[in-house]
Symmetry: C2
Subunit: 256 residues, 2 copies
DNA sequence: CGAGAGTTTGAATCGGGTCAAAGAGGGTGG
DNA sequence: CCACCCTCTTTGACCCGATTCAAACTCTCG
């Protein structure tokens, strides 16, 4: 169990991702932030492929401080469906949740923190309570996006939509219509998330690369021509951070 | 606005569906039940096709007392994706929800009741609070089922899975391996929910009818050979009513 | 340097979509 | 009470997109 004050990989102060996410959702004051920082306890570290939480369990209240995970279900015949990805700042079992209907599995090495003090919403911190409720709404919205991808989008649209959603959630760095961020997923994970075969994911990515839209190499993705990308898959920046529309300004600028 | 004590269509006491659902999720005592009955106010009645709640709004706390509705989104190009169906007893905007990420549209005439007193969970009714948290978990689980249908199931499996899920939620009547209940959806609605074309829904239903599995006629569906149905789509009765596995006994018996 | 995971390629197949048009109800108004 | 109309269902033909299988290639890590 690690107790250092910084994340190994990103080098940012630990809990920074979670605080940024909550801040995005609803402004916090310094009092709220220190409540979160002091209440959180460094917790388990999971190897890639390890189960963070099994299906049907009452989950512990945890936040991911580094690494990527996935909500997923495995069918008796071995095929799996990924419902969505969890990135640093995302929480599990914080909302008054009794059971979780899906497993959560680490896609990379994942570090977590225990945030039991947030269960049932912090009584004396109304802003925090609001932020947590919005985080829960966001989870719901992300699941709806996933249904839209599977239900009505073409393969290229699914990929574009997922990439843009991740870029926004990760608050990715944007430079002149290009957006770049660490991307640890295999094509197989993408296939399992987007309801397509690995082969077809591969061919579609190739086409998109040829069109100068996406480039994935050595664990890093580069999105180019963001305007084109968001147009082709009907993605709107800012929708994720519901109510207040506080999308990272850089992303919105890059598209406009 | 109606204030009568009974539902027009079903003839059951109004709020019966909601109370039954909560009861299924977590046992209530008479005190809890009368709290719900007395706090609920008969509210709007919606025509088929009317919007019960628009996307991005802070929803009023309502429960459907009769009729069917659907959570859905309509894309700019006119195509629509149905995320799931709401049946009597299902609630909108009760959980500490700030915004709703999808519209809710009436599929039939829908009567609703105002249950604002349940917002944020009834303070002095712990059992009710638990039941509401479980209802919220159930909504999450239903959305995950929808993703599984779209992501990994064949057309026939999607139909079977949806029918069985509805049978269980509606606590449908079962007689010797046959299950029958009112079914007001058009094939177009099914198509929009299951990510298939109307034509293909039609052909698949025909095949299933030919196989003696399903029969839809004049607003009523009959499911036959329930064991076969649940086997072919990997549906497990009882999973919906999470923790306590309190599926309607009749349904579980019919399959075993 | 080798092993294993992940990516890339080709060829054959078939499931499901689209288009177009014909039937069946079921409700309404004359 | 019947005729009409509108919606929903059903059918056929054609086509394209995505899956599958199998094999080669490439990268990364031990």
């Amino acid at each position: 169990m690690r107790t250092s004050a910084r994340c190994e990989h990103s080098g940012r102060p630990w809990m920074a991702a979670a605080l940024d996410k909550l801040e995005h959702l609803h402004g916090l004051d310094e009092e709220d932030r220190s409540f979160v920082r002091q209440g959180a306890r460094p917790s388990e570290c999971f190897a890639a492929g390890a189960d963070i939480c099994r299906e049907g369990m009452r989950p512990l209240a945890r936040v991911i401080t580094s690494g990527w995970a996935a909500r997923l279900r495995i069918l008796p015949d071995g095929r799996r469906q990924i419902f969505g990805f969890l990135v640093p700042g995302d929480m599990i079992g914080v909302q008054p949740q009794v059971v979780i209907a899906s497993a959560v599995t680490a896609m990379t090495v994942v570090q977590t923190a225990d945030v039991s003090m947030l269960r049932g919403g912090a009584p004396h911190h109304p802003a925090l309570l609001e932020a947590l409720a919005l985080a829960s709404d966001m989870d719901d919205a992300l699941l709806l996006s996933q249904v839209i991808r599977l239900g009505l989008q073409t393969p290229a649209q699914r990929l574009a939509h997922l990439f843009l959603e991740l870029a926004e959630r990760l608050d990715a760095a944007v430079t002149q219509d290009e957006c770049r961020f660490a991307f640890p997923l295999t094509q197989e994970s993408l296939a399992d998330a987007l309801g397509l075969s690995v082969v077809h994911i591969n061919r579609t990515l190739q086409q998109m690369r040829h069109d100068g839209l996406v480039h994935i190499r050595s664990g890093e993705i580069t999105l180019s021509r963001m305007g084109q990308l968001s147009l082709m898959c009907d993605f709107t920046f800012g929708q994720i951070w519901t109510v207040e529309r506080r999308a990272p300004a850089s992303l919105i600028r890059a598209v406009a």
